[in-house]
Symmetry: C2
Subunit: 189 residues, 2 copies
DNA sequence: GTCTATAAAGCGATAGAC
DNA sequence: GTCTATCGCTTTATAGAC
Protein backbone atom coordinates (compact mmCIF):
# COMPACT_ATOMS: atom_id res chain seq x y z
CA UNK A 1 0.00 0.00 0.00
CA UNK A 2 2.35 2.71 1.25
CA UNK A 3 4.84 3.73 -1.42
CA UNK A 4 8.46 3.53 -0.31
CA UNK A 5 10.00 6.76 0.83
CA UNK A 6 13.58 6.88 -0.44
CA UNK A 7 14.16 10.64 -0.58
CA UNK A 8 12.79 13.89 0.75
CA UNK A 9 10.53 14.47 -2.25
CA UNK A 10 8.76 11.16 -1.76
CA UNK A 11 7.45 12.33 1.58
CA UNK A 12 5.75 15.44 0.22
CA UNK A 13 2.56 13.83 -1.14
CA UNK A 14 2.08 11.93 2.11
CA UNK A 15 2.60 15.09 4.15
CA UNK A 16 0.15 16.93 1.88
CA UNK A 17 -2.54 14.37 2.52
CA UNK A 18 -2.01 14.47 6.28
CA UNK A 19 -2.25 18.27 6.36
CA UNK A 20 -5.38 18.13 4.23
CA UNK A 21 -7.02 15.68 6.60
CA UNK A 22 -6.14 17.34 9.89
CA UNK A 23 -5.15 20.90 9.08
CA UNK A 24 -1.80 22.30 10.22
CA UNK A 25 -2.55 22.34 13.94
CA UNK A 26 -4.15 18.91 13.90
CA UNK A 27 -1.36 17.14 12.03
CA UNK A 28 0.88 15.39 14.54
CA UNK A 29 4.44 14.21 14.12
CA UNK A 30 3.46 10.79 15.38
CA UNK A 31 1.05 10.33 12.49
CA UNK A 32 3.62 11.78 10.13
CA UNK A 33 6.28 9.29 11.21
CA UNK A 34 3.74 6.49 10.93
CA UNK A 35 2.46 7.27 7.46
CA UNK A 36 5.73 8.36 5.89
CA UNK A 37 7.56 5.46 7.48
CA UNK A 38 10.33 7.89 8.43
CA UNK A 39 11.57 8.11 12.01
CA UNK A 40 11.83 11.47 13.71
CA UNK A 41 15.56 11.43 13.05
CA UNK A 42 15.08 11.24 9.28
CA UNK A 43 12.20 13.67 9.37
CA UNK A 44 14.24 16.34 11.13
CA UNK A 45 17.16 15.58 8.87
CA UNK A 46 15.04 16.41 5.79
CA UNK A 47 13.05 19.19 7.45
CA UNK A 48 15.22 20.81 10.13
CA UNK A 49 12.50 23.30 11.02
CA UNK A 50 9.98 20.55 11.67
CA UNK A 51 6.30 20.82 10.87
CA UNK A 52 6.53 24.34 9.56
CA UNK A 53 9.16 23.37 7.01
CA UNK A 54 7.13 20.33 6.00
CA UNK A 55 4.08 22.49 5.34
CA UNK A 56 6.16 24.99 3.39
CA UNK A 57 7.49 22.16 1.23
CA UNK A 58 3.96 20.96 0.59
CA UNK A 59 2.76 24.46 -0.33
CA UNK A 60 5.72 24.77 -2.70
CA UNK A 61 4.82 21.48 -4.30
CA UNK A 62 1.20 22.52 -4.77
CA UNK A 63 2.29 25.84 -6.29
CA UNK A 64 4.55 23.96 -8.69
CA UNK A 65 1.76 21.60 -9.71
CA UNK A 66 -0.57 24.48 -10.48
CA UNK A 67 2.12 26.34 -12.37
CA UNK A 68 2.73 23.35 -14.62
CA UNK A 69 -0.75 21.94 -14.96
CA UNK A 70 -2.95 25.03 -14.77
CA UNK A 71 -1.12 28.31 -15.27
CA UNK A 72 1.17 27.34 -18.16
CA UNK A 73 -1.72 25.93 -20.26
CA UNK A 74 -3.86 28.97 -19.41
CA UNK A 75 -1.10 31.31 -20.56
CA UNK A 76 0.23 29.41 -23.52
CA UNK A 77 -2.75 27.85 -25.27
CA UNK A 78 -3.28 29.61 -28.56
CA UNK A 79 -7.00 29.20 -28.03
CA UNK A 80 -7.76 30.67 -24.58
CA UNK A 81 -10.91 28.53 -24.30
CA UNK A 82 -8.79 25.42 -24.74
CA UNK A 83 -6.59 26.62 -21.88
CA UNK A 84 -9.66 27.11 -19.71
CA UNK A 85 -11.01 23.68 -20.62
CA UNK A 86 -7.65 22.29 -19.62
CA UNK A 87 -7.82 24.13 -16.28
CA UNK A 88 -11.17 22.64 -15.36
CA UNK A 89 -9.99 19.14 -16.27
CA UNK A 90 -6.85 19.61 -14.17
CA UNK A 91 -8.88 20.95 -11.25
CA UNK A 92 -11.24 17.98 -11.30
CA UNK A 93 -8.25 15.66 -11.35
CA UNK A 94 -6.36 17.53 -8.62
CA UNK A 95 -9.29 17.62 -6.23
CA UNK A 96 -10.22 14.01 -6.95
CA UNK A 97 -13.62 15.04 -8.29
CA UNK A 98 -14.51 16.74 -5.02
CA UNK A 99 -13.28 14.05 -2.66
CA UNK A 100 -10.13 15.96 -1.78
CA UNK A 101 -10.09 19.43 -0.31
CA UNK A 102 -7.85 22.37 -1.08
CA UNK A 103 -4.92 22.55 1.31
CA UNK A 104 -4.33 26.23 0.67
CA UNK A 105 -8.02 26.91 1.23
CA UNK A 106 -7.96 25.25 4.66
CA UNK A 107 -4.81 27.07 5.59
CA UNK A 108 -6.45 30.34 4.51
CA UNK A 109 -9.36 30.01 6.91
CA UNK A 110 -7.80 29.79 10.35
CA UNK A 111 -4.70 31.33 11.93
CA UNK A 112 -2.51 29.04 9.82
CA UNK A 113 -2.86 31.75 7.19
CA UNK A 114 -0.69 34.09 9.24
CA UNK A 115 2.11 31.54 9.31
CA UNK A 116 2.08 31.07 5.53
CA UNK A 117 0.64 34.42 4.50
CA UNK A 118 2.67 34.96 1.36
CA UNK A 119 2.26 31.40 0.05
CA UNK A 120 -1.50 31.50 0.62
CA UNK A 121 -1.81 34.96 -0.86
CA UNK A 122 0.13 34.24 -4.02
CA UNK A 123 -1.56 30.92 -4.74
CA UNK A 124 -4.97 32.53 -5.10
CA UNK A 125 -3.67 35.79 -6.57
CA UNK A 126 -1.77 33.94 -9.31
CA UNK A 127 -4.70 31.69 -10.12
CA UNK A 128 -7.12 34.61 -10.39
CA UNK A 129 -4.70 36.72 -12.40
CA UNK A 130 -3.78 34.05 -14.94
CA UNK A 131 -7.40 32.99 -15.41
CA UNK A 132 -8.50 36.61 -15.85
CA UNK A 133 -5.88 37.08 -18.56
CA UNK A 134 -7.17 34.03 -20.44
CA UNK A 135 -10.76 35.24 -20.13
CA UNK A 136 -9.71 38.60 -21.50
CA UNK A 137 -8.03 36.96 -24.46
CA UNK A 138 -11.24 35.05 -25.06
CA UNK A 139 -13.18 38.29 -25.44
CA UNK A 140 -14.20 39.63 -22.04
CA UNK A 141 -13.33 43.18 -21.08
CA UNK A 142 -10.86 43.76 -18.27
CA UNK A 143 -13.45 44.18 -15.53
CA UNK A 144 -15.64 41.27 -16.58
CA UNK A 145 -12.59 39.04 -16.92
CA UNK A 146 -11.36 39.86 -13.42
CA UNK A 147 -14.81 39.43 -11.91
CA UNK A 148 -15.46 36.13 -13.65
CA UNK A 149 -12.03 34.85 -12.63
CA UNK A 150 -12.74 35.68 -8.99
CA UNK A 151 -16.17 34.07 -9.21
CA UNK A 152 -14.70 30.91 -10.70
CA UNK A 153 -11.82 30.55 -8.23
CA UNK A 154 -14.11 31.33 -5.29
CA UNK A 155 -16.78 29.06 -6.76
CA UNK A 156 -14.34 26.16 -6.85
CA UNK A 157 -13.32 26.70 -3.23
CA UNK A 158 -16.92 27.01 -2.12
CA UNK A 159 -17.91 23.92 -4.05
CA UNK A 160 -15.23 21.96 -2.19
CA UNK A 161 -16.62 23.16 1.14
CA UNK A 162 -20.19 22.36 0.16
CA UNK A 163 -19.35 18.95 -1.29
CA UNK A 164 -17.47 17.91 1.83
CA UNK A 165 -20.19 19.23 4.11
CA UNK A 166 -22.68 17.01 2.31
CA UNK A 167 -20.18 14.18 1.90
CA UNK A 168 -21.25 14.25 -1.75
CA UNK A 169 -18.60 14.77 -4.45
CA UNK A 170 -21.41 15.21 -6.98
CA UNK A 171 -22.03 18.66 -5.53
CA UNK A 172 -18.52 19.55 -6.62
CA UNK A 173 -18.58 18.07 -10.12
CA UNK A 174 -21.93 19.67 -10.93
CA UNK A 175 -20.77 23.06 -9.66
CA UNK A 176 -17.63 22.77 -11.77
CA UNK A 177 -19.72 22.12 -14.88
CA UNK A 178 -21.77 25.24 -14.27
CA UNK A 179 -18.67 27.36 -13.59
CA UNK A 180 -17.11 26.05 -16.78
CA UNK A 181 -20.27 26.93 -18.68
CA UNK A 182 -20.18 30.47 -17.34
CA UNK A 183 -16.70 31.04 -18.77
CA UNK A 184 -18.03 30.21 -22.22
CA UNK A 185 -20.98 32.57 -22.25
CA UNK A 186 -20.33 36.03 -23.60
CA UNK A 187 -21.04 38.82 -21.19
CA UNK A 188 -24.52 40.24 -21.72
CA UNK A 189 -24.78 43.39 -19.61
CA UNK B 1 -13.03 45.30 26.78
CA UNK B 2 -14.09 41.75 27.55
CA UNK B 3 -17.80 41.50 28.29
CA UNK B 4 -18.59 39.90 31.64
CA UNK B 5 -19.47 36.24 31.52
CA UNK B 6 -22.26 35.64 34.02
CA UNK B 7 -23.91 32.57 32.51
CA UNK B 8 -23.23 29.77 30.07
CA UNK B 9 -24.76 31.60 27.12
CA UNK B 10 -22.40 34.54 27.52
CA UNK B 11 -19.44 32.29 26.80
CA UNK B 12 -20.75 31.10 23.42
CA UNK B 13 -19.77 34.12 21.30
CA UNK B 14 -16.27 34.09 22.80
CA UNK B 15 -15.93 30.37 22.14
CA UNK B 16 -17.19 30.89 18.59
CA UNK B 17 -14.51 33.46 17.90
CA UNK B 18 -11.77 31.25 19.31
CA UNK B 19 -12.84 28.27 17.18
CA UNK B 20 -13.00 30.52 14.13
CA UNK B 21 -9.48 31.76 14.71
CA UNK B 22 -7.79 28.44 15.48
CA UNK B 23 -10.11 25.73 14.23
CA UNK B 24 -11.27 22.95 16.53
CA UNK B 25 -7.90 21.23 16.92
CA UNK B 26 -6.04 24.50 17.36
CA UNK B 27 -8.32 25.94 20.03
CA UNK B 28 -6.72 25.31 23.42
CA UNK B 29 -8.36 25.26 26.81
CA UNK B 30 -5.79 27.67 28.14
CA UNK B 31 -6.83 30.31 25.61
CA UNK B 32 -10.47 29.51 26.30
CA UNK B 33 -10.06 30.05 30.05
CA UNK B 34 -8.14 33.24 29.38
CA UNK B 35 -10.58 34.86 26.97
CA UNK B 36 -13.80 33.74 28.62
CA UNK B 37 -12.45 34.61 32.04
CA UNK B 38 -13.82 31.28 33.29
CA UNK B 39 -11.58 28.83 35.13
CA UNK B 40 -11.48 25.21 34.10
CA UNK B 41 -13.82 24.40 36.94
CA UNK B 42 -16.56 26.68 35.66
CA UNK B 43 -15.91 25.66 32.08
CA UNK B 44 -16.38 21.97 32.82
CA UNK B 45 -19.35 22.80 34.96
CA UNK B 46 -21.09 24.42 31.98
CA UNK B 47 -19.70 22.01 29.39
CA UNK B 48 -19.16 18.63 31.07
CA UNK B 49 -17.94 17.08 27.81
CA UNK B 50 -15.26 19.71 27.37
CA UNK B 51 -14.18 21.13 24.04
CA UNK B 52 -16.53 18.95 22.04
CA UNK B 53 -19.55 20.21 23.96
CA UNK B 54 -18.36 23.79 23.62
CA UNK B 55 -18.13 23.42 19.84
CA UNK B 56 -21.56 21.78 19.71
CA UNK B 57 -23.03 24.70 21.65
CA UNK B 58 -21.42 27.13 19.23
CA UNK B 59 -22.74 25.24 16.21
CA UNK B 60 -26.19 25.26 17.79
CA UNK B 61 -25.97 28.97 18.33
CA UNK B 62 -24.94 29.58 14.72
CA UNK B 63 -27.79 27.38 13.47
CA UNK B 64 -30.21 29.37 15.61
CA UNK B 65 -28.91 32.66 14.30
CA UNK B 66 -29.35 31.56 10.71
CA UNK B 67 -32.80 30.19 11.41
CA UNK B 68 -33.96 33.53 12.84
CA UNK B 69 -32.07 35.95 10.65
CA UNK B 70 -31.88 34.14 7.32
CA UNK B 71 -34.25 31.20 6.99
CA UNK B 72 -37.37 32.72 8.54
CA UNK B 73 -37.20 35.86 6.35
CA UNK B 74 -36.49 33.73 3.27
CA UNK B 75 -39.53 31.56 3.99
CA UNK B 76 -41.95 34.15 5.24
CA UNK B 77 -41.40 37.27 3.16
CA UNK B 78 -44.41 37.75 0.92
CA UNK B 79 -42.04 39.02 -1.75
CA UNK B 80 -39.34 36.35 -2.18
CA UNK B 81 -36.89 38.91 -3.54
CA UNK B 82 -37.25 40.90 -0.34
CA UNK B 83 -36.38 37.76 1.60
CA UNK B 84 -33.31 37.25 -0.55
CA UNK B 85 -32.27 40.89 -0.11
CA UNK B 86 -32.63 40.34 3.61
CA UNK B 87 -30.45 37.23 3.43
CA UNK B 88 -27.58 39.03 1.74
CA UNK B 89 -27.74 41.87 4.25
CA UNK B 90 -27.71 39.37 7.13
CA UNK B 91 -24.81 37.48 5.58
CA UNK B 92 -22.72 40.63 5.19
CA UNK B 93 -23.44 41.50 8.81
CA UNK B 94 -22.76 37.99 10.12
CA UNK B 95 -19.43 37.64 8.35
CA UNK B 96 -18.38 41.17 9.27
CA UNK B 97 -18.15 42.18 5.61
CA UNK B 98 -15.64 39.43 4.91
CA UNK B 99 -13.43 39.93 7.94
CA UNK B 100 -14.88 36.93 9.75
CA UNK B 101 -14.83 33.40 8.39
CA UNK B 102 -17.52 30.74 8.47
CA UNK B 103 -17.05 28.41 11.42
CA UNK B 104 -19.06 25.64 9.81
CA UNK B 105 -17.06 26.02 6.62
CA UNK B 106 -13.75 25.54 8.47
CA UNK B 107 -15.13 22.57 10.34
CA UNK B 108 -16.29 21.09 7.02
CA UNK B 109 -12.83 21.07 5.49
CA UNK B 110 -10.73 18.94 7.82
CA UNK B 111 -11.46 15.89 9.97
CA UNK B 112 -13.46 18.07 12.35
CA UNK B 113 -16.32 17.42 9.95
CA UNK B 114 -16.50 13.79 11.06
CA UNK B 115 -16.96 14.86 14.67
CA UNK B 116 -19.85 17.19 13.85
CA UNK B 117 -21.09 15.56 10.67
CA UNK B 118 -24.80 16.10 11.17
CA UNK B 119 -24.47 19.73 12.31
CA UNK B 120 -22.22 20.58 9.37
CA UNK B 121 -24.42 18.72 6.93
CA UNK B 122 -27.68 20.28 8.00
CA UNK B 123 -26.35 23.83 8.16
CA UNK B 124 -25.53 23.86 4.46
CA UNK B 125 -28.42 21.62 3.42
CA UNK B 126 -30.95 23.87 5.17
CA UNK B 127 -29.44 27.04 3.73
CA UNK B 128 -29.45 25.68 0.18
CA UNK B 129 -32.95 24.24 0.51
CA UNK B 130 -34.58 27.37 1.94
CA UNK B 131 -32.85 29.64 -0.57
CA UNK B 132 -33.89 27.36 -3.46
CA UNK B 133 -37.51 27.53 -2.31
CA UNK B 134 -37.38 31.34 -2.29
CA UNK B 135 -35.81 31.41 -5.74
CA UNK B 136 -38.53 29.11 -7.01
CA UNK B 137 -41.20 31.40 -5.62
CA UNK B 138 -39.50 34.27 -7.40
CA UNK B 139 -39.94 32.54 -10.73
CA UNK B 140 -37.13 30.06 -11.33
CA UNK B 141 -37.94 26.48 -12.21
CA UNK B 142 -37.05 23.75 -9.73
CA UNK B 143 -33.72 22.85 -11.29
CA UNK B 144 -32.54 26.41 -11.86
CA UNK B 145 -33.56 27.34 -8.32
CA UNK B 146 -31.59 24.49 -6.79
CA UNK B 147 -28.55 25.18 -8.95
CA UNK B 148 -28.57 28.90 -8.26
CA UNK B 149 -28.98 28.27 -4.53
CA UNK B 150 -25.96 25.94 -4.54
CA UNK B 151 -23.94 28.46 -6.55
CA UNK B 152 -24.82 31.24 -4.14
CA UNK B 153 -24.09 29.30 -0.94
CA UNK B 154 -20.86 27.91 -2.39
CA UNK B 155 -20.01 31.34 -3.78
CA UNK B 156 -20.30 32.87 -0.32
CA UNK B 157 -18.04 30.24 1.20
CA UNK B 158 -15.50 30.60 -1.57
CA UNK B 159 -15.56 34.38 -1.30
CA UNK B 160 -14.72 34.07 2.40
CA UNK B 161 -11.73 31.87 1.56
CA UNK B 162 -10.53 34.19 -1.18
CA UNK B 163 -11.00 37.35 0.86
CA UNK B 164 -9.06 35.93 3.77
CA UNK B 165 -6.30 34.60 1.53
CA UNK B 166 -5.83 38.12 0.17
CA UNK B 167 -6.46 39.74 3.54
CA UNK B 168 -8.92 41.92 1.64
CA UNK B 169 -12.55 42.05 2.77
CA UNK B 170 -13.39 43.92 -0.42
CA UNK B 171 -13.03 40.65 -2.31
CA UNK B 172 -15.92 39.36 -0.23
CA UNK B 173 -18.24 42.35 -0.47
CA UNK B 174 -17.79 42.62 -4.23
CA UNK B 175 -18.45 38.91 -4.70
CA UNK B 176 -21.59 39.20 -2.59
CA UNK B 177 -22.88 42.01 -4.79
CA UNK B 178 -22.42 39.87 -7.91
CA UNK B 179 -24.07 36.84 -6.30
CA UNK B 180 -26.99 39.02 -5.23
CA UNK B 181 -27.29 40.34 -8.78
CA UNK B 182 -27.40 36.82 -10.17
CA UNK B 183 -30.43 35.97 -8.03
CA UNK B 184 -32.31 38.86 -9.62
CA UNK B 185 -31.70 37.99 -13.24
CA UNK B 186 -34.29 35.76 -14.86
CA UNK B 187 -32.96 32.53 -16.17
CA UNK B 188 -32.20 32.81 -19.87
CA UNK B 189 -31.45 29.31 -21.13
C1' DG C 1 20.85 8.97 7.17
C1' DT C 2 18.30 6.53 10.55
C1' DC C 3 17.45 5.00 14.96
C1' DT C 4 16.06 5.17 20.19
C1' DA C 5 15.79 7.68 24.25
C1' DT C 6 14.49 11.62 26.32
C1' DA C 7 13.63 16.28 27.37
C1' DA C 8 10.46 20.12 28.28
C1' DA C 9 6.22 21.96 27.55
C1' DG C 10 1.44 21.92 26.65
C1' DC C 11 -2.66 19.35 26.16
C1' DG C 12 -7.60 18.00 27.76
C1' DA C 13 -9.65 16.53 31.69
C1' DT C 14 -10.51 15.49 36.75
C1' DA C 15 -10.58 15.92 41.91
C1' DG C 16 -11.65 18.07 45.78
C1' DA C 17 -11.61 22.20 48.75
C1' DC C 18 -14.33 26.12 49.43
C1' DG D 1 -20.30 27.75 40.83
C1' DT D 2 -15.51 28.70 40.98
C1' DC D 3 -11.04 27.84 42.25
C1' DT D 4 -6.24 25.44 42.45
C1' DA D 5 -3.62 21.46 42.08
C1' DT D 6 -2.64 17.71 39.63
C1' DC D 7 -3.10 13.58 36.68
C1' DG D 8 -1.81 11.12 32.57
C1' DC D 9 -0.93 11.73 28.10
C1' DT D 10 0.76 13.74 23.79
C1' DT D 11 3.06 17.19 21.72
C1' DT D 12 7.31 19.13 19.13
C1' DA D 13 11.92 18.91 19.22
C1' DT D 14 16.72 17.43 20.46
C1' DA D 15 20.76 14.41 21.63
C1' DG D 16 23.68 10.99 20.69
C1' DA D 17 24.66 6.17 19.34
C1' DC D 18 25.20 3.61 15.26
Amino acid sequence: MARKIVERGDAIPVLAEIFREHGFAGASLSEITERTGLGKGSLYHYFPDGKEEMAKAVLDDVAGWFETNVFVPLRESEDPDAGIDHMFKAVIRFFHSGRRICLVGTFALDDTRDRFASEVQSYFAAWTRVLAAALKRSGLNTKAARETAEDVVAGIQGALVLARSQDDPGVFTRAIKRLHQRTKVTHRD
